[in-house]
């Protein structure tokens, strides 16, 4: 039995998407830049993919740019906007719990002479709008806030932040990393005053190595790679047509019945949390005001600490039973450093060392949750017996 509860790391590709991508690779393999028919067809596919994504986001087709994934989207948005708007100011704002694709990019810009404010978060992993309000200055050119935190699933007040930013400094750009949020929430950049939005294909049952950056048409941006000038010169490089089509199809499939799926995931999450609380000493991280229903956080992420059991050991124990989860966040679990997000929400050492993340998808079933709980009930007492002093 394989129970995959690590969907925030990556997801299983929808079979329909895989078929489409395969067919595109084998049959419709043209280069959109070619002048012949095959190239024209390929260009048509790129436009088709843009059109369906634009519809989901309620933006214009020309505002959709394809990238190699979430990391590139974040890099392009932050560096591209910072460079293009340098004359207006050199101050940037972000939060302490961003993904490394944002945080490391900010650190890089600091070495280029930019100043960055890192907003703190409360125990539920959310920023305080007052802090944001106070941080914005006339020199602030960009605010970057993630939609859904990848480690604890906290949701940021994106729409409110958008309104606030534009009220204080209409020139300040607003970037949102929606890699974990897209496909799990309705996101309309225009309504939320978002200027740039990062999305990744493989988190929504699409292919790896493909992502999107939405860039509002009025946004002043520089590209950060140089070459053949594809995608209006913002992102050179031959278009990954099968990848774009795959991403677009996956998004269509998810958004086709998003409300029902979200409701089902929230029910599963509440059910899982109820089950977890039967384990002595267990702590659920990132809940809003201790709301055990899990509403107010992402529907698909449950961050759990089992004090006394090291996260890696619990992970391998579950693995042994065919259950795949993650210790902290997959992107940082190769380095045995404590998670920045968990530290930012004020977790102590016992919590830092014992946190694992479960993340659901549309494939997750109640039976899988029951089995997972059963394994945890069975094995945790034994694991607690053997601890390091």
């Amino acid at each position: 039995m394989e129970i995959y509860l690590d969907n925030s790391a990556t997801t299983r590709v929808f079979p329909e998407v895989a078929e489409l991508v395969t067919r595109m690779m084998c049959e419709d393999y043209g280069n959109p830049s070619s002048m012949h028919m095959k190239g024209v067809e390929a260009e048509r596919y790129v436009r088709q993919a843009k059109a369906s994504l634009a519809k989901i986001l309620k933006v214009q087709e020309k505002e959709i740019f394809f990238t190699s994934g979430g990391t590139e989207s974040d890099n392009l948005a932050i560096i591209g906007a910072a460079r293009a708007n340098k004359r207006q100011g050199m101050h940037l704002i972000t939060t302490r719990i961003e993904h490394p694709a944002v945080l490391q990019t900010m650190r890089y810009l600091e070495t280029e002479g930019y100043t960055v404010t890192y907003l703190p978060v409360d125990a539920s992993g959310r920023i305080c709008l007052k802090d944001l309000e106070q941080a914005i200055t006339p020199e602030t050119i960009l605010v970057s806030i993630m939609h859904t935190n990848n480690e604890v699933g906290s949701l940021q007040p994106i729409a409110e932040a958008g309104t606030l930013i534009k009220r204080i400094n209409p020139k300040t750009l607003f970037h949102v990393d929606a890699v974990q949020g897209f496909g799990k929430a309705v996101i309309h950049p225009k309504k939320m005053q978002i200027d740039m939005l990062s999305i990744s294909g493989h988190k929504i049952h699409g292919p790896k190595g493909v992502g999107i950056l939405y860039v509002g048409e009025k946004v002043k941006m520089h590209g950060i790679s140089y070459g053949g000038g594809q995608q209006s010169g913002l992102r050179s490089g031959t278009e990954n047509v099968p990848g774009y089509m795959g991403l677009a199809r996956a998004a269509e499939l998810l958004y086709g019945h998003l409300p029902q799926d979200m409701e089902r995931l929230y029910e599963l999450k509440a059910y899982f949390i109820q089950g977890l609380l039967k384990i002595e000493g267990v702590q659920i991280n990132g809940l809003v005001d201790g709301d055990m229903s899990g509403r107010g956080t992402a529907p698909h992420i449950v961050s759990v600490s089992v004090p006394g059991v090291r996260s890696e050991v619990l992970l391998h124990t579950l693995e042994d039973a065919g259950i795949y989860v993650s210790a902290g966040s997959a992107c940082s679990s190769h380095k045995p450093q404590p998670s920045e997000t968990l530290k930012a929400i004020g977790a102590d050492k016992a919590i830092l060392e014992s946190t694992i993340r479960f993340s659901f998808s549309v494939y997750t079933t109640r039976e899988e949750i029951d089995y997972t709980l059963k394994i945890m009930y069975d094995r945790i007492p034994m694991l607690r017996k053997y601890t390091r002093h």
């Binding site: 890696e312 992970l315 693995e319 053997y386 390091r388």
Partner: protein, 394 residues
């Protein structure tokens, strides 16, 4: 330009009547190494030297890189082999050779000719003088120094061809693998044990290895890391038979029954016992560990008494007098360092006590091991029965 290599070997030259055994083993190892290179080569032994001649085009750097992993090779001399087309032609070739290999050379040199083809019109002394003359005429900046030349131009007149060489690329030294028997390496994921394996293999010893795996406390990646390390070591040793032993139950049982300060020592004693058992089954003549005196609590001299006494086979500890930095240097040289420092936990560190004993009393340890009497034999037997064998080669 180069079409052949002269292989120099140091130690195996002095092995008396067994010499041919060592030479044959060396040729065997070289053949094995060259099989992985592009091109075809013939290898022949003549008068205390080994020649490799390329039969086809080949990649010089690739071949030298591979030869540098063959124990027993002291030096690799890239050789130009030419037909005998008269002495004037030979002079031209040597002058051109210097232009190619030592552009703008101002060094001192000496010509050293040898003839195995005795009917060559000039004798060795004459070749030395006339060739030296020709070099001086072509490169007036160079000087002759017959006592301590910076470059020695070797010219060997053989039956079919004339060989020219001067450069000596250092080889790894040591003795050909397989001439010294076989030993069982206790391989962890750390920096030390791969180096220990390398050092013993360098003395001509073939290596088998054993790794103790403790799921779920150690991960699949930790095991993969050990396989990767074995693969890196196997570039020098040839294929390694890696035994993976599931140690979890034994470790848990010790944890339950013995004082925690002695956990590591008692665990090590069981690892040694199991390693020795597999070693004997596989005709190994000794065990190899990466221990170094005082590096950690389980490697003090007192602790070593405790871990040593459970084995009959000799335990080879080639790093015993090395500082950590010295070990790191070797591991960087042989290319295992980067893999060794990947951060996956190995089974020795999971349950380590805050203050493990550094001066264990063997009698006390033995007494505490008696607490294990009820189940330990059965657990060891199961561990041995579930031994997973992975054959690792490059």
């Amino acid at each position: 330009m180069f079409t052949a290599f002269l292989i120099k070997y140091a130690e195996i030259g002095i092995k008396g009547k067994n010499r041919y055994l060592f030479e044959d083993a060396l040729v065997q190892q070289m053949k094995y190494a060259l099989k992985k290179c592009e091109g075809e080569f013939s290898i022949h032994k003549t008068q205390g030297r080994i020649f490799i001649e390329a039969q086809t085009e080949f990649d010089f750097d690739e071949v030298v890189g591979k030869l540098k992993t063959v124990f027993g090779i002291a030096g690799i001399c890239p050789v130009i082999a030419v037909e005998d087309e008269g002495f004037d032609k030979l002079k031209e070739t040597v002058v051109q050779y210097i232009a190619d290999v030592y552009p703008g050379c101002t060094k001192t040199f000496k010509v050293h000719a040898r003839r195995t083809r005795k009917n060559y019109p000039k004798d060795s002394m004459t070749i030395n003088m006339e060739m030296g003359d020709a070099i001086l005429k072509a490169y007036p900046e160079m000087k002759v120094d017959v006592h301590e030349p910076q470059i020695m131009f070797n010219i060997e007149v053989r039956e079919r061809k004339i060989y020219i060489y001067s450069e000596i690329i250092p080889g790894p030294g040591g003795m050909p693998v397989g001439t010294g028997g076989k030993a069982m390496l206790l391989l962890s994921g750390g920096i030390d044990s791969p180096v220990a394996g390398y050092m013993i293999a360098k003395r001509g010893v073939k290596i088998d290895a054993v790794y103790f795996h403790a799921p779920p406390y150690t991960s699949e990646r930790a095991k993969q890391k050990v396989v990767d390390l074995a693969r890196l070591v196997s570039r020098y040793t040839g294929p390694i038979y890696l035994h993976v032993i599931n140690f979890t139950d034994i470790q848990m049982y010790i944890y339950e029954k013995c004082p925690h300060e002695e956990l590591t020592i008692i665990m090590r004693r069981y690892m040694m016992r199991i390693a020795e058992h597999i070693a004997k089954e596989n005709e190994c003549l000794g065990l190899i560990t990466g221990e170094s005196i005082g590096q950690v609590a389980s490697q003090t001299m007192n602790s070593l008494i405790a871990t040593n006494e459970v084995c009959e086979l000799p335990v080879y500890r080639p790093l015993i007098g090395f500082d950590k930095q010295e070990i790191v240097e070797v591991s960087e040289k042989i290319g295992t360092y980067e893999t060794s420092i990947l951060p996956y936990e190995d089974c020795c560190t999971i349950f380590v006590a805050k203050h493990p004993v550094t001066k264990p009393n063997v009698n006390v340890i033995r007494r505490h091991e008696e607490n294990l009497a009820e189940k330990i034999d059965e657990l060891v037997e199961t561990a041995l029965k579930t031994d997973e064998l992975i054959i690792v080669s490059e």
